[in-house]
Subunit: 409 residues, 2 copies
DNA sequence: CAACATTTATAAGAGAGGAACACAAACCGG
DNA sequence: CCGGTTTGTGTTCCTCTCTTATAAATGTTG
């Protein structure tokens, strides 16, 4: 069936087991050798050999565990090597650009976010700005440190295979080869992966945020538009070309307003920032600060603000009901303004879910706010950039740090 | 991360490779040893050993290939053993019951469908009826043949883990333990798997129908209600408890009619059988024959019929646009009445998709009719029942046929 | 009928994890 | 303070599975 139909062999097993260990440490933090034995189901001998290989590749280090008051010989603690692999994470947001250098294991070593001048939307210009940010960050890191990958989050619809942004209304982009532009500007060897910001927000909430271990998770983020990221059985839903999860453009209201995507009655025309502000009689272009003011008014009991949020909450619930019936998720994580207003509109959302979602799936789902803030997409970009290494750690026997690079070259 | 975190070992490789071969033959039909070598990427020696094991378990047979006019020593053809494993497939449809005995590889050996008396909805009664059908079929098969699994398709929402039907409006069921009832009535040892009929229709269209090799496929079937089955990257989307894919209950029209599920404006209230008939001024309870008459009228140019289908097609397109934006599928397969009316409403659907779906995903999707007819869910139930065997053929070294059973017991 | 191409068959080799046993390092109790 | 208990490491040998190498088999082609 599969085109690259795959027979398994010994090396497959090794790769898979190495990957399992690195993933475990990357996602869950340090673990003793014994814990790894328990979690993988492998024998001590096997774990020992695998860890030895990972340590030789400078991906992990072993340390003596401090005494824990339990009998028995202490098991060495294995952790991601803090001087090991790093990636470069980049984000192109509605009105800012950001960059970070993130280590395997998720530690953020350097991070910067700058405003993006309004109207500054050319792809070369943005790529150059990001390259400058990246250079500044890298200058603060040890000489010779080279990212093993570059991840990019962008407010737009992305074709993952080649990093082409097929649609980014906020930037006025259509079929823009962002991946190529960044490759030229950054001048790094590492592979560059581009993805939608909400997809990456979902990924990082799943790995390190509100949805850890959820398995089936729906992430919906309210920004200027509505972004969605879907995790099914632990795997991100990307669709056939990486366009999956654009829940903001579900048609929910056949008699609704025209959306900037050209369609009519999209979900985001009812629950996006602009819709909330419009309902409250505020300037729809006010952006996040204006929304923040609106939410504060609502918290203070201002009627117009409450009505607007009530309206938004109702449509939010309607759309979520749709998604619940389709996906039967265990968890819905609300990010951006949706996470912000959840305390106020939670009951409204729950009411719509009770009314519109099938009872059985409904009973299983919880709605929670995202816990990672503004930088979620940036951190998600880092996760994306680590993916090849996580999938095949042995293929990344990182030739790093001074002499080693020369020796192996 | 995964709870049953899995270290791989040698046996894993063996199981996976055996599974790959059996799947290949089950899905794609007979293949020469060389073809299997090419498709799996394994060596001839490995394939030889694997096939030998499968042949010893009576799962496959090897035959001399007839000469094909090419030089070189001919490669034996491997095929599923026609006297090998079979499953029992059952279906509980709106107004009929069906049963079949299906061999590995998909050959239907016996099949029967009977009307279900209206009002006959008790689970014990239906289970008994199905058991009678099954017994009749089995009496026509060789003595000693025992199904390795039982698959059940039902018009309802099913919790897969235990075969409880949580909701089946057509039967008036709510939280009915169908799996247990069938286990008691059938008196077979084989495991019983229950699933939604549309999910199974999607599965079999993907394996043997209109969506072969599609990878990401959306199956939407118009019956009394609207059923949906979703295949993502070759795997059926089941949701956290098997409730996934209930696209019929997406709220699409906030000012629409009340649905029998209790919600308002569900997709199926706009495009289901009843909606089409209502729009055409026909008795909404007329069922499939009445719909058939409606379609014939439309084909003959009767205005009221054309208007009704136009309405249905428009809403069909609206809902599909939603799903296209969410899933970015490569293919949409329309079954039931939707497949029937596709030639008439195709342009309307395409128009709504053009208008409402994001351009990039839209460009990639094709809409086609299902090719497997009324029995699709039944055949899907067979596929479901074969799943454990396909996943681990070695675990099913079928002790079958006379002496062998005694010898191994 | 000989040359060639392709595949099968068989045996030896290599990679990876499993099992068993001796030893090590912690706690516990007298 | 010292032996007992518990838990875990290190090491060696074993088993499983696929790969590699070589000879034999079975077709087509000229």
């Amino acid at each position: 069936m599969r085109l690259e139909a795959i027979g398994q062999r010994s090396e497959t097993v090794r790769r898979s087991n190495l990957s399992a260990i690195v993933r475990e440490l990357h996602d869950g933090g340090p673990a003793s050798r014994s814990e790894l034995v328990a979690r993988t189901g492998l024998t001590r001998s096997a774990i020992r050999g695998l860890i030895g290989e990972l340590a030789a590749a400078d991906l992990v280090i072993e340390e003596r565990a401090e005494p824990q008051g339990t009998p028995g010989r202490p098991s060495p603690v294995v952790r991601i090597d803090p001087d090991g692999a790093v990636v470069l994470a980049l984000e192109i947001a509605v009105d800012s650009l950001a960059a970070a250098i993130v280590g395997l294991g998720g530690e953020v070593f350097e991070r910067v976010r700058v405003d993006r001048p309004a109207g500054h939307t050319g792809v070369e210009g943005i790529a150059a700005d990001l390259a400058d940010l990246a250079a500044a960050l890298r200058s603060r890191r040890p000489a010779g440190e080279t990212p093993v990958g570059v991840g990019v989050a962008i407010v737009g619809v992305v074709r993952r295979s080649d990093g082409v942004v097929s649609l980014a209304p906020n930037l006025g982009w259509r079929d823009v080869p962002l991946g190529d532009a960044l490759a030229a500007a950054l001048r790094v060897d590492a592979p560059i992966s581009v993805a939608n910001d909400a997809d990456l927000g979902a990924l990082v909430e799943f790995r390190r945020g509100a949805a850890i271990g959820g398995g089936d998770v729906l992430f919906v983020s309210g920004e200027y538009g509505v972004g969605g990221g879907i995790i099914i059985d632990g795997r991100p839903l990307t669709g056939v070309a990486g366009y999956g999860g654009e829940v903001g453009h579900m048609p929910v209201n056949p008699i609704g307003a025209t959306c900037r995507c050209g369609s009519v009655g999209c979900w985001e025309t009812e629950v996006g920032e602009a819709a909330l502000l419009r309902m409250a009689g505020r300037p729809p272009g006010g952006g996040r600060p204006e929304v923040e003011a609106l939410v504060r008014d609502a918290e203070a009991g201002v009627p117009a603000a409450l009505t607007a949020l009530e309206h938004g909450g109702r449509w939010l619930g309607i759309g979520l009901a749709s998604l619940v019936n389709i996906f039967n998720p265990r968890l819905i994580v609300l990010g951006g303004i949706f996470g912000r207003i959840l305390p106020l509109v939670g009951p409204t959302i729950e009411h719509e879910l009770d009314r519109r979602a099938l009872a059985a799936p409904r009973r299983l789902v919880r709605v929670v706010p995202a816990v990672l803030g503004e930088d979620a997409p940036l951190l998600g970009a880092a996760e994306l950039a680590f993916e090849p290494l996580l999938a095949d750690p042995a293929g990344w026997l990182v030739p790093r740090r001074g002499q080693r690079v020369l020796a192996s070259a």
